[in-house]
């Protein structure tokens, strides 16, 4: 091994770095081609009546997507109604209470709770579907319905909500808590009046992430929501979210143009979700947190 020339080593670096550039560009290209393709094929199909008329079934997938928009909205709201209080509560407990509870009864309980959250986060969505189908659809006789689907969906997004809540709370400076406690406030008063208000943007991010998950999830709702394309009239109605509609259009009616159009709307929703998250976290930064 003799002394290596700096020029040769620079050349190796240039080669390696260009490969890295290529891999990043390729990734962006892949994204652009998926999004671009669906948008280009889908957007020409869009018009006002597409959004205001329900699907009419049929082999070419006639009609629009109005009832699927309604079903998606209902499902998002119902899921959040279940998952938000539970998830935020669990997050608050794990950050604000768990540390100080070191007695013999609580310690294992807290360990189990943490294990539960971690496990839940790794469970593949079809398992939630399977579980939801067995428990809510069959055993509890909710049938294929918004109720079954939103309960299964709540289980699905619970870990997201818990984790983002935990992170938001951990980011609240300890001095806030000390300040409030030193004034004689109880722990709960401190949480409610000082900690939670400063964690609102972070928790909101978690909610929006959950909304994104529900909008894009298909497998869980395929086995819990049924597939009726009529507008749901009660929480026991079957229904179709937009994502589910794309699946049915592609797999059953083979109406790819309509599927692309619905897909374009879905992508637009996801972009909106990402923008919302960015906006919230920008406020978070501008608000002068610890970042």
């Amino acid at each position: 091994m003799s002394s290596r020339s700096p020029a040769g080593r620079k050349l190796v670096q240039a080669g390696a770095f260009s490969l890295l550039w290529v891999s990043a560009l390729l990734s962006v290209l892949v994204l652009a081609s998926v999004v671009g393709y669906v948008m280009i094929k889908g957007i020409p199909e869009l018009n006002l009546s597409f959004f205001t008329t329900p699907p009419r079934g049929g082999l070419s997938g006639e009609g629009g997507i109005s009832s699927t928009i309604v079903a998606t909205l209902y499902l998002v709201v119902m899921t959040l109604l279940v998952a938000a209080p539970l998830g935020i509560g669990a997050g608050v407990f794990l950050v604000e209470y768990a540390e100080s509870m070191q007695n013999r009864l609580m310690k294992p309980l807290i360990r189990i709770a943490r294990f539960g959250v971690e496990t839940l986060a790794g469970v593949p969505s079809i398992i939630f579907g399977l579980f939801g189908y067995a428990l809510f659809v069959t055993l509890m006789h909710f049938g294929f319905s918004l109720l079954s689907a939103s309960l299964a969906g709540a289980c699905l997004i619970l870990p997201v909500v818990i984790r983002t809540t935990e992170e938001a709370l951990k980011a609240v400076p300890q001095s806030y808590r000390e300040g409030s406690l030193s004034l004689g406030a109880t722990r709960w008063e401190t949480i409610r009046r000082v900690v939670l208000p400063s964690a609102v943007p972070g928790i909101t991010t978690g909610m929006i992430l959950g909304v994104g998950r529900i909008i894009s999830e298909t497998a869980v709702f395929y086995v819990t929501l049924g597939g009726s394309y009529r507008t749901p009239t009660s929480i026991l109605s079957s229904g179709r979210t937009m994502a589910l509609h794309v699946f049915y259009l592609a797999m059953e009616t083979r109406a790819f143009e309509k599927a692309m159009a619905t897909g374009a709307v879905l992508i637009a929703c996801i972009i909106a979700v990402n923008l919302a998250i960015n906006a919230v976290s920008r406020r978070l930064t501008a608000g002068g947190g610890r970042w």
């Binding site: 002394s3 290596r4 700096p6 620079k10």
Partner: protein, 255 residues
């Protein structure tokens, strides 16, 4: 005074629009220890990092003036070759998360060995020169992170020596160490200067007085830019400083 190993001429450094170093001209004599002292924030470390162009890693940094190594402009040199000739030891020991051997062998492995030299011999020579060999020779495969702070710092010195530099820059190399480890490093410096030119930044004036041959005193002016106030033999700087600000500083009247 012999031909300087390194010199700066009208050297200025800017962070964006802020001037951090103001027109510094200074010579680094060969095989001597040159200490740079001054109050915190005066730009000592920034100045030190100018000698091996480490400031280039910071976005928005711009320099004017010249820095020479053996009469050659370091900005016309290849940065890799420059850093091979001008090594650096950091304030906090920063061994890589590898074995002791692999840490010292890192430089020779990337640069290539000189003909007829073996890696093991070079590692041993470097560890001996850094006065660490006797403590680690039985277990060179041990993780470097398992060493004590003082040993880690001597390992970093050995790592720098293994690429056979001409100049070694030391940025407060003992400030994170206990007094005994500090003493060891200071003793080591005295043996190293036979073969190397050493520039050391220190906030500890006693240390500068103890170990160095020449001392430079930096101070920030009204616009918070670092200026070279006085440079000379250490003995003269600490006994008969020419500038009243130097006298104020070494007698502890500010900073």
């Amino acid at each position: 005074m012999p031909e300087p190993r390194m010199r700066t001429i009208d050297y200025c450094l800017y962070y964006g629009g802020f001037r951090a170093l103001n027109s510094i001209s200074m010579d680094i004599p060969p095989n001597m220890i040159t200490a740079i002292i001054g109050p915190s924030g005066c730009g000592k470390s920034t100045f030190l990092r100018s000698f091996n162009r480490m400031n280039e890693l910071i976005p928005g940094v711009r320099v004017t003036g010249k820095v020479l190594l053996d009469g050659e402009d370091i900005f016309s040199l290849d940065v890799v070759s420059l850093r091979r000739k001008v090594g650096m030891v950091f304030q906090r020991p920063n061994p890589f998360p590898k074995s002791i051997f692999d840490n010292v062998a890192y430089g020779p492995r990337i640069h290539g060995l000189r003909k007829g030299d073996s890696l093991a011999a070079l590692v041993e020579r470097s560890l001996k020169a850094a006065a660490l060999w006797d403590e680690v020779k039985d277990d060179l495969q041990k993780s470097a992170l398992s060493l004590s702070g003082g040993q880690q710092q001597r390992l970093c010195i050995a790592r720098a020596l293994a690429v056979e530099p001409e100049v070694i820059l030391m940025d407060e190399p003992a400030s994170a160490l206990d007094p005994i480890a500090t003493l060891k490093i200071e003793e080591l410096l005295q043996t190293l200067k036979e073969n190397y030119t050493i520039v050391i930044v220190t906030h500890n004036m006693q240390q500068a007085a103890r170990v160095s041959d020449f001392t430079a005193f930096l101070l920030m002016d009204e616009s918070r830019a670092g200026n070279l106030v006085e440079f000379g033999p250490t003995k003269q700087i600490f006994t008969t400083p020419r500038d009243s600000r130097t006298e104020d500083y070494i007698s502890g009247r500010f900073g």
